[in-house]
Symmetry: C2
Subunit: 243 residues, 2 copies
């Protein structure tokens, strides 16, 4: 049996150091882009088109699409939706296509394009993602979207949680980032809100009162959807549980 | 009073994301380049010239210099010395100039060249480095040399230990890498050898029997020297203790 391997990458900036062609990449921007994608698709959005820039997003808006745009944690002027998972859960979006641009998450998705498959991960679909990659892949990179190409704590925690799940299913790792992420998740797991209280995200966005969104994003296994990014759009897979 | 700030960078690959001109950078390659530099200078080496390539090192050898060269954890063929701190402590090297090339550490030093000042750090001179930067700087980046431009655990632990010391002296941080490094150091500090037993360094170099070197590198505050890299060479500063 092939040994299944998981690794963690702390920032999309590091992607050029890796060969992705034979790997699934799980992109994680837990506060809040990938949580919004998971929540939205869990609530019935049919398709999400990630774009890099606000200009591209605006072009879609002018064509009549539903478009979400976030920068610096806030909804960009002229758009109705940002990257709030609660906003993405609006029943009015059921069955629709939504275009999305965010500061870090959508860029990470687009930068991972050379991967064998690109999966959208968050705490909200942690178990579903783990089951999906366990059933379909033998090499996985958990990619933290980070913040402005730098390491961040929140995405690292999700990487650590998913890596622990994969190791418990018999996967291995020889990657220090993965070991570090698992240790940090161990430290944080009983009080993620408390662990995050000194983190840069918390301080940077305190003025936006995102507490409700953050508490939402910290929930585990609310949805069994596995959004897949292919052909420039995100569509959903449902999976059976491994355990 | 100016607020003093510390940040941590997990890899020299990330240096382009930072403005270093007003910062001291502490370069850390604890297994083993910067530990060897500290041990060697603590034992009386007068000057160390770091070079990037084995070819440059060989050119110095032909000119009659004492030259140390390490690749893949071992002494490069044709050289007498690698990056062993015990080798660097040889009394025969007292008062001499040594040229050094290593896989990660010397490259990190050279890549940090735009910094206000470049300091060589390790567990062996942890307190001396902390006192020195506390007395002479108000903005410090702790730079992990990492492994092949990637995150590694061992250098991160030294970053976390030094960051904790600086915060205890009233410094602040708004950097998630710094918070993460401090958490990891907290997890590891009572048993660094045990913490490192699954790390990539341990597995990669197990065949080289480096246990004695690693145990040496894990010792704290053996030397009060603060090696400074300037004008393409490393020279030593001694410092008075802050506390």
């Amino acid at each position: 049996m092939t040994e299944k391997r998981v690794e963690v990458c702390f920032s999309p900036y590091h992607i050029p150091l890796y060969e992705l062609a034979k790997k699934a990449v799980v992109v994680i921007d837990v506060y809040r882009a990938t949580s919004a994608i998971v929540a939205g698709m869990g609530a019935g959005i049919e398709k999400i088109i990630p774009v890099s820039t606000v200009e591209e997003a605006r072009a879609y808006l002018e064509k009549g699409y539903k478009v979400a745009a976030e920068r610096k944690g806030a909804v960009v002027e002229g758009f109705d939706l940002g990257n709030s998972p609660i906003g993405f859960s609006d029943p009015a979006l059921r069955g629709s296509t939504v275009v999305l641009t965010t500061s870090n998450g959508t860029k990470a998705l687009i930068k991972a394009k050379s991967a064998k498959e690109i999966v959208v991960g968050s705490f909200l679909n942690q178990r579903a993602v783990v089951d999906y990659v366990n059933q379909n892949h033998d090499s996985v990179m958990l990619l933290a979207a980070g913040w402005r190409d730098r390491f961040n704590l929140e995405d690292t925690l999700v990487c650590g949680a998913m890596a622990q799940d994969l190791l418990s299913l018999g996967w291995t790792t020889d990657c220090d980032s993965c070991l570090g992420a698992m240790h940090l998740y161990d430290t944080a797991k009983n009080d993620i809100k408390g662990f995050m209280k000194n983190a840069s995200h918390t301080n940077r966005l305190a003025h936006l009162n995102l507490d409700e969104d953050i508490a939402y994003c910290n929930q585990k296994d609310v949805f069994d959807v596995v959004p897949i990014y292919k052909n420039n759009e995100i569509v959903v897979e449902h999976v059976a549980k491994t355990t």
